[in-house]
């Protein structure tokens, strides 16, 4: 098994400028060494993924034992630069054989027919895995769900207690969330009640849309042909979300997590990775993990954002059959659980994993499993990059008070419809 590290964000002092093309060219040259026959005549499968090599290599070693004719050359990407690297490799005509892809990157690849349609080859996996909705477009599967991520509420028990609230009853409805955020801000001795994302536009829809989805709202209509941002459900959700602002710390996600760790933020929305960090960075911090709040008792759902790590095979992959064999192996529960335990970022898409004894001894992780049942992914639409940009921009305008909730959603609706309109 071969392995290459990734240098992450470039260390050059300044940015691309006219050298955007140079990056492509360089990638072409570097990617040229990626394929062929490995030692002792075994065929090499090039696999790019985002997990630390220490976590994935033992799994791949087992695959090589099970498949003695194949040699896996694994490379670790970073979330900061992985997208550019994949794009450059595709442009150079030398993509990896198998690649881990984030669900928000997937629509663009599907739109450009870059990925192979795997529908017929993975039909037998349909019932063994969940998350097909984020990897399918118009009923065809363009990737295989591997790991699924979602976000839930983290509540600081001490701050709840100080605010006169019962930490064993974390906010379950919008009203309870607002009351808790207000009480913590007012009685928390400088602590803020809620973490509202700001200054990182790219994740705003992930933070707001759960409230809208839980209220029955959506970004596009059921035909995926028209925007549905201006709906009453979305408007009610955005008005509620903005009502949290006076009691919120407006910061980036990582700063929310830092403030929560220091006991200066009462409630944040975060992913399972924080469960791994908190025992190390704040072992004394008492906290509860709870489902996202629903609009009201008995109304709506405790929806959250669903992110998926899927495995895709590119159209001009050199070894598609072998790549698919590796993908099938990776998605088996006995291989996804060790990866989840090692990284803690996302949960296995294999349905059988839910019965793993790990979740019996780790109740907070189990909350995320429960949360996944209500998680909603972004629509897999060819124009998703533009749609996402519009939604995030309009949400940012609303959060910064430049537009009312009504105006922001109306503008989002108009702009999305303009983007979806067929070119003249």
């Amino acid at each position: 098994m071969g392995a290459k590290g990734d240098s992450g964000v470039g260390s050059a002092r300044r940015g691309p400028g006219p050298a955007v093309a140079a990056a492509l060219l360089l990638a072409l040259v570097l990617a040229a060494g990626g394929c062929g026959k490995g030692e002792s005549g075994r065929r090499t499968v090039v696999f790019w993924q985002f997990s630390p090599l220490a976590a994935i290599e033992p799994i791949l070693a087992r695959f090589e034992v099970e498949n003695p004719d194949l040699d896996v050359q694994v490379e670790q990407l970073t979330w900061q630069s992985g997208r550019e690297k994949i794009v450059a490799a595709i442009a150079a005509g030398r993509p990896p054989d198998l690649c881990e892809l984030g669900s928000t990157f997937l629509p663009g690849l599907v739109a450009d027919s870059t990925l192979r349609d795997l529908t017929d080859q993975v039909a037998d996996l349909r019932s063994a895995l969940v998350g097909w909705d984020v990897s399918s477009y118009r009923g065809r599967a363009y990737a295989i769900p591997w790991m699924l991520g979602t976000r839930a509420l983290y509540v600081n028990d001490d701050l709840m207690r100080r605010a006169g609230l019962d930490p064993s009853k974390p906010p379950a409805t919008w009203d309870e969330l607002l009351r808790a955020a207000r009480a913590i801000t007012e009685k928390g001795h400088g602590a803020k009640g809620f973490g509202m994302s700001a200054g990182e536009r790219e994740i705003l829809f992930k933070k707001f849309m759960p409230f809208a989805w839980g209220n029955g709202g959506s970004i596009l209509d059921s035909t995926l042909m028209r925007a549905a941002m201006e709906s009453e459900a979305n408007l009610e959700a955005l008005r509620f979300y903005l009502s949290l602002k006076p009691y919120s710390l407006l910061e980036r996600q990582e700063m929310h997590e830092e403030a929560f760790t220091k006991g200066r933020l009462g409630i944040i929305i975060s992913g399972p990775w924080l469960l791994r960090k908190l025992p190390e960075s704040a072992p004394e911090l008492p906290f509860t993990v709870a489902l996202m709040p629903r609009p009201a008792p008995g109304r709506g759902t405790p929806a959250s954002f669903a992110g998926a790590e899927v495995l895709g095979v590119f159209r001009n992959s050199k070894r598609p059959e072998e790549a698919l064999r590796l993908a099938r192996f990776l998605t088996r529960p006995e291989n996804t659980m060790p990866l989840f335990v090692a990284t803690g970022n996302a949960f296995p898409a294999a349905t059988a994993s839910a019965a793993d004894s790990y979740f019996v001894t780790h109740p907070k992780d189990r909350v995320f499993l429960e949360q996944l049942r209500y998680a909603v992914g972004p629509p897999l639409h060819p124009r998703w990059v533009q749609i996402e940009e519009i939604v995030n921009a309009e949400l940012e305008e609303a959060i910064y008070g430049r537009k009312s909730a009504e105006a922001a959603l109306a503008s989002a609706d108009a702009r999305i419809n303009a983007a979806l309109a067929p070119a003249p």
Partner: protein
């Protein structure tokens, strides 16, 4: 060509090959790309669009917004960096003890990767960061350095000035060191004040280096990218959307490689024009200076 005459060319050949492959070729390639509609994911759909990418850029509000932001960055940082670098160099030239230590300390930021610097400043500027901790300690309200649209760009500019001053100060200091000591002593014997010595003797002497510093800083400031990438990603409310970050987004998020290349060439033309203007304005006589 004789062996002896060819030897120097042989010596620079490795650099020449490197420059041709990684400098000239991408430059020419990007120029061709700027006339194409090219999605790197679908190279089979490439088509020639002539000047359409340039026309689109010049009609795009985002381009002009990014240009304004970049211009604000350049105009805001250049005079401050230059003044501070000149002042620091003047102070360093007067230090008699521990000069090496102070020179190294001043130059230190230039040895760091901008990614590292940006990550450090990201922590400093955080709501719970050191700067707000100091403000809170003296009873001042916290400042939303990177979250406030009116403060985000100045905060990045401040970081950039800190990161750049040391490098330019050392360049100016090196130029000052070439000034003959006798000339300075003669001026003092003539009874000239330190300010007059600085204005009449030192400043004209270091003028070519100052011009170099201005040109270099202008080029680097127009190319600002890493700071924005690490700290703000162009936000909040696009208040830090610079030209290079804008073209990066078009290239790698929207896969519009041809359009991004056209933006890059517009930037190149713009920087070229600004450099020409700077040379005309402040460079006159610089080459002739002692």
């Amino acid at each position: 060509m004789s062996g002896a005459r060819g030897r120097p060319f042989l010596g620079i050949a490795p650099w020449g090959v490197f420059f041709a492959v990684f400098g000239l070729f991408p430059l020419a390639y990007a120029f061709v790309l700027s006339f194409l509609s090219l999605n790197p994911l679908r190279p089979d759909l490439v088509r020639w669009v002539g000047f359409a990418n340039y026309e689109r850029a010049l009609a795009s509000p985002s381009f002009w917004h990014a240009l304004r932001t970049t211009a604000f960055f350049v105009v805001g940082t250049l005079p401050v960096t230059l003044t501070l670098a000149y002042g620091v160099a003047a102070l360093l030239s007067r230090i008699r003890r521990g000069e090496t230590f102070f020179r190294a300390a001043i130059f230190f930021p230039a040895t760091l990767s901008m990614v590292v610097i940006a990550l450090v400043f990201k922590s400093l500027y955080a709501e719970e960061g050191l700067l707000n901790g100091w403000l809170a300690a003296v009873g001042l309200p916290r400042v939303h350095w990177l979250q406030d649209p009116s403060l985000a760009l100045p905060s990045i500019m401040l970081m950039d000035v800190w990161a750049s001053v040391g490098y330019y100060a050392i360049l100016i200091l090196a130029a000052r060191k070439t000034l003959p000591r006798e000339q300075l002593e003669a001026a003092r014997l003539e009874g000239l004040s330190p300010l007059t010595v600085e204005r009449r003797i030192v400043l004209p002497h270091v003028r070519p280096v100052l011009l170099f510093v201005v040109l270099l800083n202008t080029i680097r400031s127009f190319q600002i990218f890493i700071e924005v990438f690490v700290l703000t990603r162009g936000g909040p409310l696009e208040s830090t959307l610079t030209l290079v970050y804008h073209l990066y987004e078009r290239a790698f998020y929207h896969f519009e490689m041809g359009y991004a290349s056209a933006l890059a060439y517009l930037l190149l033309i713009l920087v070229g024009l600004v450099l020409l203007a700077q040379r005309r304005l402040i460079g006159r006589g610089a080459e002739a200076a002692p």
